[in-house]
Amino acid sequence: MHFDLSVVIDSLPYLLQGSAATAVIVCCAMAIGLVIGVVMAVGMVYGPRPVALLLSSYVWFFRGFPVLVLLFLFYFGLFTFLGLNVSALTAVTLVLGMTTGAYQANIFKGAMLSMPKGQYKAARALGMTQTQAIYCIILPQILRMSIPAWSNEYSIILKDSALAFVIGAPEIMARTQFVASRTYQHLPLYITAGLIYFVLTWAGVLLLEKLYRKVRIPGYSQDGFGQ
């Protein structure tokens, strides 16, 4: 029972390099999720019934499975089964992207349904096509409205990305585990890892809150940030 803080200091640069991998995973996953989420939300709300049903079952699937199980399923199972040779990093990014896509689809769907019907009607009355109405009138409002929920999603995905080490992606956790297994300084090292995640989480949330305030339209404050 001895603390060797010099291990923490020595390995800090190595651990911080892991946060680059974490950042790549999270940013790419959020971007994939945004695209999937927006397209699916439009499909679920405005699409024909069979399409809506298909998309809902996608959401149901990804929301019902634990992330850990999805990682194993895709990395060891489906990707190999499909003959895809993907790196652990790519696999994590794709799985997290698809998962957050399902959650984001629900966020955007909820926002769309909460929009007054008049907005869509007024757009059509001015001669816009359905697509124009959705992309020029509905979406700009939806996206603003969804930033708080989106920031919540960011913090979830960031924390989920810490599971990437189970399939060997070289992010913060994997590197921490590597150092810990060689130095036996588990406690200080994992606390350090926790602090890195803590900073990344709240920095991202604060940044998104800033963005939210910046793009907010006066007199148009739906549900704001929690705290």
Binding site: F65, G77, V166
Partner: protein, 222 residues
């Protein structure tokens, strides 16, 4: 119908894992709600000191991944001479983490009760405890239940992380067999369905409770 040896081995061990998973979820959910109520109340009504302690606790556990918390408990604490069994480490980690999220919903519910409700009760001669018991709690429960239920659903799925600290629950049992037979797609698909079933059960029960408690004006958002 005769099952192949693979399934003869898979299903009993998954069922064993399911029991362990439930044994993880139930105390964690109860403990999480309890901690959530205590921390949420302190954060909403406490004085400056208890409020900042509560806020710090919630920010800390909401700002770090659950895996890291589990690693600190299971691999880290032995550094200072504290040894927890895998099961204890998992349950304590789940309770602390889930309590932080629950406190968020409890705090929100308490703060959303309008000042007028207290005034109304006082003006009728209710004592402090009568006000809390008959007016505040019934309203807070209804406002918090949807969020707290969602949190329990998350907990069910994140209970799979117990596998990482070597608790042999659903995911752990499955992973062993999948590696043995090298049949990952099938095994993890089936494990996923087990979780899906657990989640669906929980959703069903929570929905029934919500409907039972439903009162006009206390709609759940979403």
């Amino acid at each position: 119908m005769e099952l192949s040896p693979f399934y003869q081995e898979l299903l009993p061990s998954l069922n064993r894992g399911l029991i362990m998973t439930i044994a993880l979820i139930v105390p964690s959910a109860l403990g999480g709600v309890f901690i959530g109520i205590v921390a949420g109340t302190l954060r909403a009504y406490g004085n400056r000191i208890t409020r900042s302690i509560g806020n710090f606790y919630a920010a800390l556990f909401r700002g770090t991944p659950l895996v890291v918390q589990l690693f600190v408990l299971y691999f880290g604490l032995p550094n200072i001479g504290l040894y927890l069994s895998p099961y204890m480490a998992a349950v304590i980690g789940f309770i602390l983490c889930s309590g932080a999220y629950q406190s968020e919903y409890i705090r929100g519910a308490l703060l959303s009760i309008k000042r007028g409700q207290y005034h109304g009760a006082q003006a009728l001669g209710f004592s402090f405890f009568q006000t809390i018991f008959w007016i505040i709690i019934p309203q807070a429960v209804r406002k918090a239940i949807h969020g707290c239920g969602n949190e329990i659903i998350y907990l069910i799925k994140y209970s799979s992380l117990a596998y990482i600290v070597t608790v042999m629950e659903l995911t752990g049992e499955g992973k062993t067999i999948a590696t043995e037979y090298f049949r990952f797609t099938e095994v993890f698909m089936i494990i996923g369905l087990y979780y899906l079933a657990l989640v669906s059960c929980a959703v069903f029960i929570l929905k029934r409770i919500e409907n039972k408690l439903y009162i006009p004006g206390f709609g759940y958002n979403r």
